[in-house]
Amino acid sequence: MNRYWKLVHLEVGRFRTMMAGLMALTLICQVGAVIWGTADALSKRDPGSTDAWKWLFLPNGKLSLALVIFHTRVLFILPIFLCIAALALYVFLIWYRDWIGGHTFIYRLLTLPTVRRHVYTAKATAIVLFVLVLLAFQLLLLVVENLIFNGMVPADLRESSSWPDLIDASLVLAVLLPRHLDQFLWSYGLGITAVLAVFTAILLERSYRRLGILYAILYLAACCAAVVWPLAALGLGHPDAYLYPEEIAAIELAMEGLVLVASVWLGFRLIAKKVTV
């Protein structure tokens, strides 16, 4: 277990600069958007001017952070998409970077005096941790942005925004941070399953090289079919469907569990017995 934590720490350390960069970019874009959006709205609120400023404010003439986020949402969404893209790319790079370069790191990893499956689980843990850290950082940023907004807008012009308002205002955060915990667990559980399926596909490619690409594609296609089939074929929303919705949901959950267990089992076998360096 100690070896596993060491490997997790190793993976976190290898990505820390990138994480810091992504966080910094998000901070600059979003805080900048709040400052610019708030200052812009306040500057246009000139009693002598036309009513053009009114669309920047609530009907009661006040300004809320949620409204500022909504009006500057492009600057909010862009760094979030960049983070998503970077992490999606890193799901592949976390493996392939070990093989790339003059001094291939994978030699050292696979010859460590520990079971090889720790390499697999450590990389998976690291990816999940990166995602959760970025989500928590986004939540922290909203607190910071709220403080900045309160500092810029006089109290008599300020309308407070609830957390759900702030999350909804940026559009994409409502998807990343759903309002209900069960939806969060379902969505991210599916995400973790997808990452593990991709990990196993990568190991198939690493194990069987050219033929492995075909195996990997077939494996991913089978995983997708297994997860999509209950929802597409059993008629979740169809009143005439034979199975009840909760039964279809249970089948869907079982299929996701099956894909997860199959991916982990196959991944462990591949890294222990097939991957050679």
């Binding site: 928590a136 941070l177 009143p239």
Partner: protein, 416 residues
């Protein structure tokens, strides 16, 4: 331990941040509302549901809520599992269907058309009609009847072929009724003309009453119910029915509705429609006087206990009439005005449960009232009011927008 500080701090930060968000951040302080009595018996408001939106703060995405006499419920407060899974099928929102699924889970599987249900003290019945495919060898439709004896809990299934040709067409069950040992399955369908019986370019709309002998399990009769149109043709005809407002309740009649969307100069903008009262026992369809169903901008037709209620809340006055289909007599004709309630106009009206329900606005406050559909006497007046911790918030009522009113059906006799 110190070496792993970055990883440990990252994990702690992530779990604390997201944990705090789900523990506290997702709880939104939204005001609660209810329908409160101003005048009359508060029990009259029990069936009313107001669909509304509440636009707090940002006003970009207002929250949807439903307000009733017992309080309000915001859509988004329901869990993901409830919204996405348990309420994935609209039919399961009906309280009777939900109860039947609890009581007769196996029987209720795969049964999704409310009009196909029939229930009395003895039987729960579901009927379906499946047209054959366009190129099917057997052009007839298949009728399936699922029966559940409520006393014994024993289920059975009957299957038979119809005599008509529905291959490649459409057929939908509109009503199911049991008269003794004969089961009537009323359908609307579009059938292809039989070979040699007119051009097969277009399907023909038809009403059918399939009569099944429950003792023998055979199709006893296939009644093709005749109807007329203004120009005598079946072109542009759309058929529908008005059946008992309690969808599964026994009834000896149904209303057949024939609408023709003409293309001639006299009818280019006006839909022409005819109504027939169909008597299951005799198989007779009697055309209703046009004066009974005069089309208004906001007309609602409801069949309840063999009486046709016609409500038209086209301003300035609300007209409500009740006709006894058995005797063909006018039971009542009343006129109600919003000014009787101190309002300028009605926003919406419904007829249900032997009552007329109206929604209106008085001095900026959403109000509603209930009148007897026979006498027109106002029985109840009520209003929407905020309740709970945020009841004193001045903004609560300002941010509330009532969108629509619906009225739940009450078991027969409860409101009459």
């Amino acid at each position: 331990m110190k070496r792993y500080l970055l990883t440990l701090l990252s994990a702690a930060f992530a779990f604390c941040g997201i944990g705090a968000y789900y523990a506290f951040g997702t709880r939104e302080s939204l005001p609660e509302f209810r329908l409160a009595a101003v005048k009359g018996d508060a029990a009259e408001a029990a069936a009313i549901r107001l669909g509304a939106t509440y636009g707090s703060g940002i006003d970009i995405y207002p929250e949807h809520l439903e307000i009733g006499a017992e309080g309000s419920e915001y859509d988004d407060k329901a869990s993901f599992y409830r919204r996405t899974i348990l309420e994935a099928r609209w039919i399961y929102q009906d309280p009777d269907i939900r109860q039947w699924i609890r009581d007769y889970r196996q029987f209720m599987r795969g049964k999704g058309n409310m009009a196909s249900f029939y229930k009395d003290g003895e039987w729960l019945i579901y009927a379906e009609v499946a047209p054959a495919g366009h190129r099917a060898a057997e052009p007839e439709a298949v009728l399936r009847v699922h029966l559940l004896n409520l006393a014994s809990g024993k289920g059975s299934r009957l299957e038979m072929r119809t005599a008509g040709r529905i291959a490649g067409g459409y057929a939908g069950v509109e009503d199911v009724q049991r008269l003794g040992n004969r089961l009537h399955i009323l359908t609307t369908q579009r059938v292809w003309p039989a070979p040699g019986n007119g051009p097969a370019k277009e399907t023909v709309p038809e009403f059918h009453d399939y009569v099944v002998d429950l003792d023998s399990g055979k199709l006893a009769e296939d009644r093709n119910i005749p109807y007329g149109t203004e120009d005598g043709s079946k072109a542009g005809v759309y058929l529908s029915t008005i059946t008992e407002s309690v969808f599964y309740a026994p009834s000896d009649c149904a209303i057949l509705r024939v609408q023709q969307y003409g293309s001639g100069p006299s009818s280019s903008k006006e839909e022409r429609e005819r109504f027939y009262a169909y008597d299951y026992a005799s198989g007779q369809a009697t055309e209703l006087p046009a004066s009974w169903t005069k089309a208004g901008e906001h007309r609602v037709l409801v069949l309840r206990n063999g009486r046709l209620n016609v409500l038209d809340w086209t301003q300035p006055a609300l007209q409500a009439a009740s006709y006894d289909l058995r005797s063909g007599q006018v039971r009542s004709e009343i006129s109600l005005k919003a000014s009787q309630l101190g309002a300028d106009a009605f926003k919406e009206a419904r007829v249900q449960n032997g009552r007329i329900y109206v929604r209106y606005v008085k001095d900026g406050t959403p109000m509603f009232a209930v009148a007897d559909d026979g006498s027109g006497k106002w029985l109840f007046e009520g209003r929407v009011e905020p309740v709970g911790a945020l009841a004193d918030d001045d903004e609560a009522m300002k941010n509330l927008q009532i969108i629509a009113m619906s009225v739940n059906r009450l078991p027969a006799g409860d409101a009459e």
